[in-house]
Amino acid sequence: MRNLFAFLAGGLFGAGLLVSGMTDTTKVQGWLDVFGDWDPTLAFVLGGAILPMMLAWNMTTRRARPALGGAFPAKPAPRLGHNLVIGSVLFGAGWGLVGLCPGPAVASLAWGGIGGLVFLLAMAAGMLVAPGVRTRIDRLAAI
């Protein structure tokens, strides 16, 4: 049951990414291109995505647990470490350079061609080495 609903959620997420234009790298770069020919579409995507989630978070306060059991994820402590900032800057720079973030990179696998596949493999390699990078950064930060 958990796997079925995970599949459905992933499918709906992917369909939404496709329909919204998030898998079109020129649209994503157009949204980030504030100083060029700015395309506001992604503001509508983010706004549209946040609305149902505001309702959902509100519902978690009135329910004891998720429908399939377990517990709702606790809100993380509002702690802002160097990794949050360094990681987000690195992610944003890569996102702007090619126009793909992790969700759309996976969702467009079927029609992304060789470029999409290479991006996905490079991203996976980055995720594989990330724990080691984190250790090194933490060691530097402790000096």
Binding site: S20, G47, A49, M59, P76, G87, F91, G96, C101, S108
Partner: protein
């Protein structure tokens, strides 16, 4: 004037947020693409591995079928510059794992519960994305 792309963007955004709401209320999980994929790659999430794999299967298969039926010949319009693709993939992979989230986790799930970490991460990756497009598109001309 409202453009058709904005309506598609908003509709797709609602689907993305709906998927995140489904994953939260039914499975009790945060729908973050980089966390779901990254946890499988660096083995930190192998305990819930089947659920993650099912999510990713839906994320690949459903948009693939939709694209085949409704948008044959669809393209992500990704750059042909392979060096840029590899560099961007590595940055996105390492960055999202260092920051513990990407557009879906920090942007959609985090902002909607007013998480300070989500808001700060989103500010930094949007700023870095904007600067990246200015640098690589307008100044260096590599994309």
């Amino acid at each position: 004037m409202i453009e058709a792309d904005w309506i598609w963007g908003f509709a797709g955004g609602l689907m993305i947020g709906g998927a995140a709401a489904l994953y939260l209320l039914v499975n009790g999980r945060i729908m973050g693409a980089s966390g779901i994929l990254g946890g499988l790659i660096d083995r930190s999430g192998w305990s819930g591995g089947a659920e993650r794999a099912a999510f990713l299967a839906g994320l690949v298969l459903v948009p693939a079928v939709l694209a085949l039926i409704f948008w044959p010949g669809l393209s992500t319009n990704i750059t042909s510059n392979m060096a840029a693709i590899v560099a961007a993939g590595l940055m996105v992979g390492i960055g999202t794992r260092l920051a513990n989230g990407c557009t879906s986790g920090h942007g959609v799930c985090g902002i909607s519960r007013l998480s300070l970490r989500g808001i700060v991460a989103t500010v930094f990756y949007l700023l870095a994305g904007g600067i990246s497009v200015v640098l690589f598109k307008h100044l260096l001309g590599v994309i």
